[in-house]
């Protein structure tokens, strides 16, 4: 069971299997997880309920991950400063550079092992419990 005070992470990915996979990894590590299917839905959710960390996919319909980050970084504090970990299948330096310029704090190339994801999440928002 997740404690009421658990750190909360918003997983933003259009693929339901990927959301399930990351949610499983993070919940087992003790985080509280919410999901969004694209950048637009993520912005809507964050305006209602802030998160301690964002896991952001790049290629998504309606609003892709980098557009989402650019818009997020223009919001008011503290929302604008929410740490964001980008996950992508692209591993080129130009892709990583584009993510950094959009406002990413870190970049992981898929596939991301479940343990690895949980470990990086803990580095960003503190040990879950």
């Amino acid at each position: 069971m997740v404690k009421a005070s658990a750190k909360s992470i918003l997983v933003i990915d259009d693929a339901s299997l990927v959301r399930l996979y990351y949610r499983d990894a993070l919940e087992r590590a003790g985080f509280q997880v919410t999901e969004a299917m694209n950048g637009l839905e993520a912005l809507e959710k964050l305006l209602v309920e802030p998160a301690d960390l964002l896991i952001v996919d790049v290629n998504m319909p309606k609003m892709d991950g980098l557009t989402f980050l650019k818009i997020l970084r223009r919001q008011e504090l503290p929302l604008a400063a929410t740490p964001a970990l980008v996950t992508s299948t692209e591993s080129g330096p130009q892709d990583i550079d584009a993510a950094r310029k959009a406002g990413a704090n870190f970049y992981l190339v898929k596939p991301v092992a479940q343990d690895e994801l949980a470990a990086y999440a803990a580095m960003f928002c503190g040990e879950p419990r």
Partner: protein, 263 residues
Amino acid sequence: MVFGESKRYYVDRRVTDRIAATGAQSFASYFARLRSDLNGEIEQFINAFTVNETYFYREEHQLRCLSSDLLAQRTARVDRTRTIRIWSIPCSTGEEPYSIAIWLLENWPQVDAYDIEIVGSDIDTQVLEAARSGIYGRRALMRLAPALIQKYFEPLDEDRWRVIEDLRQSVRFSPVNVVEASETRAYGQFDVIFCRNVLIYFDDASRRIAAENLFENLLPGGFICLGHTESMSRISPLFEVCRYADAIVYRRAREDADGKSVG
């Protein structure tokens, strides 16, 4: 129970099953056995019509083959931007396509690195409705470890569980008759097709038509998995046999630039 003409295939399939199971030499000899209720055949016969559900993780060895061999073969040749397409046909009430999704989440470390499209198709629109709703009883879940049930299902009451929404979203269901090329073609080409325990119920001609349809639905180098008692070699010469540690599957040959098979 009433079976109209549209359910003839359903009736044929189950009567054929019982004839085979009892070792009767003909329909007449089976019918005599049924009338005299030899070895409680009446009950067996009724069960054959009512117990048609399958279960999660059925023929698990093929799922193991999928994650350890088939997907490795398929992904060795594609770039990561292409979708990996898997077709479960017939999918009945959805246990098989949902099992594929659960299996990949649990056993394929690359699951987040590819777009995975799982399609479940069946001729019977009623079973497809049930598949979409994703509600199952104890019997369907008997092979799943409790931890998996807890992770991928939500309990509705003491005897029923529902597949969680993210998992339901990961499978697309649609009505398809596997012997109608006009219907199967519309689905494009897949990396892996699961077509288990249905071809055995067809007559030789329909079986061959179905196999040839499915051949067209495979990408070059794509695989088809049949039930463990079935053999494609007896149905159609189009496919290559592939033996892996966990299963024997069939493959559409890869083609080089000239369209020539390269095996």
